[in-house]
Symmetry: C2
Subunit: 123 residues, 2 copies
């Protein structure tokens, strides 16, 4: 239950980047703006996608207000972490994977990682 389609992803990106909840119309407008005039989606299209994202648990909807307002149910980072864990899930020897993974990241990120590991975050 992870991979998103292109449009679903675009919608999520907008929701993640927005501090405020957005309506379907807001999203339609933003999508049009971001993609140039080439993309003039029908509002029903956006609503369908939102309904699907809601069903997938990725967005929440305020039904109280009349134009329903949608928000991402978790941050982009948390979502990405979920993806990472999912990808790691079906790996038996996690450590071997992590080793290789670490080997491939930039020195900056390695430094950041070390800082995180050494930080007293595990209270």
């Amino acid at each position: 239950m992870a991979s998103l389609g292109d449009l679903e992803r675009s919608v999520m990106d907008l929701l993640w980047d927005s501090a405020e909840p957005l309506t379907a119309n807001d999203l339609r407008d933003e999508l049009a703006a971001n993609a140039g005039a080439s993309k003039e989606l029908a509002v029903t299209t956006v609503l369908t996608v939102l309904a699907r994202l809601e069903k997938k648990g990725l967005v929440e909807r305020e039904r109280s207000t009349r134009p329903h307002r949608y928000t991402a149910s978790s941050s982009r980072e948390d979502h990405t972490v979920e993806l990472l864990n999912e990808a790691l899930g079906n790996a038996q020897d996690r450590e071997a994977v992590l080793a290789r993974f670490i080997g491939g990241i930039s020195p900056d990120e390695a430094a950041a990682l070390r800082a995180i590991l050494d930080s007293p975050k595990s209270a």
Copy 2:
């Protein structure tokens, strides 16, 4: 170009676990054994899946031998790392994600990570 279907995944698992290249018949038999008698796939089914996996670049095929022999083109770990990077790919602030990710792994793995980071692997 990442997610595999159930059967595709099963086939990859067998190929990854095998030191030797396998034929479609080998795979059909193993699949039947692993899944109990419930699964008696036609060989053509296995061949179709193998062809698709080959097209995806996940398996390689020896056409020289008569029953073609198939091998995974990269190790399970390398493949998983690719998935990880793919998941991270569409995240802007990789460090924030990594921080959260690290926060969620087990102490053992954290220790392993530290060891990896500190090791003189970057030759």
